[in-house]
Every structure is written in structure tokens, then in C-alpha cells.
């Protein structure tokens, strides 16, 4: 049987070249000066001090975080009731509803965002509102599906027990159903928050030229300005930020889990 373990070797070489090396390159670019050839590397922290010494860049970051948080909250706010209502349907209707929620996800995200341009042109909304609509539209299916899974996996006897013990509907929901569905909500948060922070074509398509998020900043430094070192530094900052917030949500998840015990 051990012979099979050799089957991993090609993939180890593959990920070294195509996953590890690119990440190392970003790291390398972020910590070096611009315009250097590979042989004359000059290490520097300038790219990072440049990012934090100017209020502009942190404010773009803050704006990205804000819109990602708002998107996540709206997705929970609208997605939870939807998932809950779906879970109350009979099996056949549930399957249909889930199919209908999934179907748009098979259509390219760019095309779906493009579709909103026509509709939103009727309204005189702020860029931010338009971007928010686009983000919620694109990401809410993930939230609904995650919450729905956790709701439908729930042990129905717990709910029955709560009702037998005299809890009313609200109490049952608040004390039993909602806490048990939290893992689904958290899984949904990671699936919504993560792409929302780094998204760059939703703001570009719906927000117009002056609605800049951190993803647009990265694109700008790689595509038009051509400052790959600074672009890499921004990417690195964003990646760290995201890893940190993922870590945070995991901690919250754990804590809730412990409280339950």
C-alpha cells in the first residue's frame, strides 16, 4: 500500500512551483525596491510605510472593510429569513427553491453584474448603494445555502423538546434554532466577506471611475501604474487582513461552541 504514497510526489513539485513560488514572489516584490533585476535585490520596507503614512490608502482599506461588512450584514439580514422560510417548505418545494437559488450562481458573476447596470441606470443611486446592491446580489446565495444546510441538518427533536417544555415560538427560535444555526451563518460569513473585501469588478462595473476599493487599488498598481512592488505590498496587507479576520471568526465560532457545552 505504501507504494501509493509516491503518487503525491508530482503534486508536491506542482504546488511548490505554482502555489508556493507565486506567494514567495509577492512577498519578494513587496519587500524590495522597484526597478531591480533579480540579481541586485534591494530590500526595503518603503512600500509598507508608503501605504500607512498616507491617509488615502488606509481609508481605501477602511472603505473596503466597511462595504464588505455591510454586504455581510445585509446578506445575513435578508438571507437568514429566506433560508428559514425555505426550510419550512415541504421536501419537493425545498429542492426546487434551492435549485432556483443555485441557478444564477452558474451564470458568470461578471455577466450578472453587467445585467444590473441596465436596471440601476434607471435610478439615481449613490455609487456606494449601487456597489452594495451588486455585492449583496452576487454573494447572498452563498449565505442562504449555508444557513439552509445548517437549518435542515438540525435535530428536529430538540425543537420538539423545547416546545414540550413550554417555550413559545420566539423562545424556541432564540434559544434553540438560532444558536444551532450559527455554524451555518459563520460559514456564510466567510464565503461572503472574503470575496467582498477583495472584489474589484463589482465596484468597477457599478460604481463608476471614482469608487475605488482595495481590489481596484491592486489592479491599478498592476495594470495601469505598473508599480508591482507597491501592488504586491497592498496585496500582502490585504491577505494578512483577511487571514486575521478569518482567524477571528473561527475564534468566535469556537467560543460559541464552548458556551453551548
Amino acid at each position: 500500500m505504501k507504494t501509493f504514497s509516491k503518487l503525491v510526489w508530482p503534486y508536491m513539485a506542482w504546488i511548490t512551483v505554482f502555489i508556493v513560488a507565486p506567494m514567495l514572489l509577492i512577498l519578494l516584490y513587496a519587500f524590495t525596491k522597484e526597478g531591480n533585476s533579480v540579481l541586485t535585490l534591494q530590500f526595503t520596507l518603503n512600500n509598507f510605510t508608503r501605504f500607512f503614512s498616507d491617509s488615502i490608502f488606509p481609508s481605501v482599506m477602511a472603505r473596503s472593510l466597511k462595504i464588505a461588512l455591510m454586504t455581510t450584514l445585509l446578506c445575513i439580514l435578508f438571507g437568514y429569513p429566506a433560508a428559514y422560510c425555505i426550510s419550512k417548505l415541504n421536501d419537493k418545494q425545498q429542492a426546487l427553491a434551492i435549485l432556483l437559488v443555485t441557478l444564477p450562481m452558474w451564470i458568470n458573476m461578471l455577466i450578472r453584474t453587467y445585467a444590473w447596470r441596465g436596471i440601476l441606470s434607471y435610478f439615481d443611486f449613490d455609487s456606494e448603494i449601487k456597489v452594495l446592491i451588486g455585492m449583496v446580489y452576487n454573494f447572498i446565495p452563498f449565505m442562504i445555502l449555508q444557513i439552509h444546510t445548517s437549518l435542515s441538518k438540525m435535530d428536529q427533536s430538540l425543537i420538539a423538546a423545547a416546545e414540550d417544555l413550554g417555550a413559545n415560538k420566539t423562545q424556541t427560535f432564540m434559544r434553540v434554532i438560532f444558536p444551532l444555526s450559527i455554524p451555518g451563518v459563520i460559514a456564510g460569513i466567510t464565503l461572503v466577506f472574503l470575496p467582498a473585501v477583495s472584489s474589484f469588478f463589482i465596484p468597477k462595473l457599478l460604481g463608476g471611475g471614482d469608487y475605488v476599493l482595495i481590489g481596484n487599488l491592486i489592479e491599478n498598481y498592476f495594470v495601469s501604474t505598473g508599480d508591482w512592488n507597491f501592488g504586491s505590498a497592498i496585496s500582502l496587507i490585504m491577505a494578512v487582513l483577511i487571514i486575521f479576520s478569518m482567524f477571528l471568526t473561527k475564534r468566535i465560532d469556537h467560543q460559541i461552541g464552548e458556551e453551548k457545552e
Binding site: I15, P22, L25, Y29, A97, Y114, A115, G215
Partner: protein
């Protein structure tokens, strides 16, 4: 009281569906518009469909999207499955490390993965084009295949493969005749995920492709500056194809089961 609640619930679901399908219907309606306008419907026409089929950039984008998705799916399914089998027989440390690295493309913001590829190809002096696009797609598809095959391998009874080897099967036979058939559902669902990931990708493709090789998403992105209702026509076709395939996939098993049920009843 309960009936009212149910009504509110159903009404809410309906409202949600309206939100989901509003832009899709909007695009479909305006794909039949006679004029170029995206806000005024001036009359029914198929002109944008004609233009779409006559447009070489669009047809090429469709072609590349499908070809890349098919090859990337095939390669990543085979590669991913083999790797997953290998991983399940490896030492724990090695397995953990590989799986951690394997997670990176799924956890990283797409744009970071994308520029990583771009820096890699540039620093290796590889000219960007079809091959770089394909490699990038294979790289981000494999993790999903591994992720969906691993659980099936964990459920697998090691003894069966051992027994096959004891009975004189070569390792290759044990692999193809014993292990793979048992993990097939995981392999298939991995392949499906890989296909959709590749078919839908924009950001990574945008940074890894070269002159003359565009997929649908890149084409749409590069032509948003001008009103181009051919994109509506293309979107409509994609929506129709996807819906048909999904409905078939979901309905055929149901019909088959029913028929089976009937046949069994008769016999």
C-alpha cells in the same frame, strides 16, 4: 395564524426570487431589443443574436472558455484524484503540509492568487497565452477535486485494496479496479466543481492570459465601455443552456426513478 405566517414566508421567498431573476430577465428582454438602448425597448428583433454569432471575438471567447474548462477539468480531475489517493496513504505530517498548501488558492483573495501567477510567469519569462491560462486554471481547480475526493477515501476500507494486492493484482490494477470505482462519486462531484470554477473564472484569467486568448468574462469586461447588446444575447444563451442542463440533471433521475418504480410494480 399559521396560514398567514406561511403566506408571509412564501411571499418573502417569492420576493427574493424576484430579486435573483430580475437582472436575468432584464438582460433577456433587452437582448431582443431592436435598438442599441439598454433602457428603452423599441421593438422586437434578433439583430443582436445575428451580430453575436457573426462576432469573431465573442465566438472565440466562447470557444476558449469551453476548451479551457474541459481540459482543465480533465487534467485536474485525474491529477487531483491520484494525489488524493497518494495523500491518503502518506504520513500524517506530509499530508497535513500538502493539504495546508492546497488550501491556499481557496482561501486567498482571487486577485492575490492572480497576481502571484502573473509575477511567476513574468519572472520565468514565459510568454502569456493559452498555456499560462490553462496552467492557472488547472492550479486552482485541483484543490477542489482533492477536497471532494478525500472524504470518500477516508470512508474507504483499506483491506479491500490490500486483499486485491494479496490476490496478485498489480498496484495499478488495485488502483483502477478497486479504489477508483469506490470513490467515483467524489471524483465526479470534484470534476463538476472544477468545471464550473474554470468556466466562471474572471480575475485569474484576466491576469494570466495573453494576446488573442480571451474567455467570456474577459470579453465582457473589456467591452463594458460601450453599449453592446450582443453581450445580452450571449448572456441569454448561457442562461438558457445552463438552465436546461441543470433541469435535465435534476429531472432525469426523478423520471428514471419513477419509471423504475412503475416497472417494479408491474413485475
Amino acid at each position: 395564524m399559521k396560514a398567514l405566517k406561511r403566506k408571509i414566508g412564501n411571499g418573502y421567498i417569492l420576493l427574493m426570487m424576484l430579486f435573483f431573476y430580475l437582472p436575468i430577465f432584464y438582460v433577456m428582454i433587452f437582448s431582443f431589443n431592436e435598438s442599441k438602448s439598454l433602457t428603452r425597448f423599441t421593438g422586437f428583433s434578433l439583430v443582436w443574436y445575428e451580430k453575436m454569432f457573426a462576432s469573431r471575438p465573442i465566438m472565440e471567447a466562447v470557444y476558449y472558455t469551453i476548451v479551457i474548462a474541459l481540459i482543465a477539468t480533465a487534467v485536474s480531475t485525474v491529477f487531483g484524484t491520484i494525489t488524493a489517493i497518494g495523500l491518503s496513504k502518506s504520513r500524517k505530517i506530509l499530508r497535513e503540509v500538502v493539504l495546508q498548501i492546497n488550501d491556499i488558492p481557496m482561501l486567498n483573495p482571487e486577485i492575490v492568487t492572480a497576481i502571484g501567477f502573473m509575477l511567476l510567469f513574468t519572472s520565468m519569462n514565459i510568454e502569456k497565452g493559452f498555456m499560462t491560462l490553462l496552467i492557472a486554471h488547472i492550479v486552482f481547480c485541483i484543490p477542489y477535486v482533492i477536497l471532494s475526493v478525500m472524504p470518500k477515501l477516508r470512508q474507504l476500507d483499506d483491506n479491500i485494496a490490500e486483499a486485491a494486492l494479496d490476490l496478485g493484482a498489480t498496484p495499478f490494477q488495485a488502483l483502477t479496479k478497486v479504489i477508483i470505482p469506490q470513490i467515483m462519486p467524489g471524483v465526479v462531484s470534484g470534476a463538476l466543481i472544477a468545471f464550473t470554477m474554470s468556466f466562471d473564472d474572471f480575475i485569474i484569467s484576466f491576469f494570466t492570459t495573453g494576446p488573442g486568448v480571451n474567455n467570456i468574462a474577459i470579453y465582457v469586461y473589456s467591452s463594458i465601455k460601450r453599449i453592446n447588446p450582443s453581450i445580452n444575447a450571449l448572456s441569454t444563451i448561457i442562461v438558457v443552456v445552463v438552465t436546461t442542463v441543470l433541469v435535465l440533471v435534476n429531472v432525469i433521475p426523478v423520471i428514471r426513478d419513477r419509471k423504475k418504480g412503475k416497472n417494479e410494480k408491474i413485475s
